[in-house]
């Protein structure tokens, strides 16, 4: 049986990963593995099979673009960067996040 808190975390995380991706790419462009590393550094464990569909979806929504860059350590890397539309969406997400923080503080206080 799965521990309860794991499920709680999983549920809370839903809808947050897209926000996290935009947060990362708002600071600098990055390729998938680097994004995964940064998420891991923030204690959010994400695997490739989770991240790629998200990146593709955000790219298709016009929130991201990408460019190829050669690497001496394997195949070319796909560097994603945020678009103007992506920054706009990120602003909306900041707002939503702050509202959620406010709501929790109101209820918990």
């Amino acid at each position: 049986m799965e521990s309860n808190i794991d499920n709680v975390r999983a549920q809370m995380r839903k809808g947050m990963l897209e926000y996290c991706i935009l947060c990362i790419l708002a600071k600098r462009e990055a390729y998938a593995s680097a994004i995964i590393d940064e998420l891991k550094a923030a204690n959010l464990i994400v695997v490739e099979g989770t991240l790629y569909p998200l990146l593709i979806r955000q790219k298709n929504q016009g929130l991201l673009t990408y460019r190829w860059e050669e690497s001496t350590q394997g195949p070319p890397r796909k560097y994603y960067c945020i678009t103007d539309k992506g920054r706009e969406q990120l602003g909306d997400m900041d707002t939503a996040w702050q509202e959620m923080e406010t709501a929790i503080n109101t209820l918990r206080g």
Copy 2:
């Protein structure tokens, strides 16, 4: 077409309502309509069809109990109150929430 921020809010909210219910009931027992009112006061709009199944599930998980109380303004009310197990779960959820806050601050900072 639905506005983007509404969708963002909806996604972020997923998984948060159970936490919010426990937050409310940790302060005082309440019946469904009162819970909806308090959620609304925190800018979280929830309808009955959403709340009732959640309350029933949390009751079945042993997180809540309830007692009936007569009302002079209509049918009896079902007052829910949080159990010890519910407070334990609430503690886990507080932890998960704080971890999420930390993660976002790390990524956004």
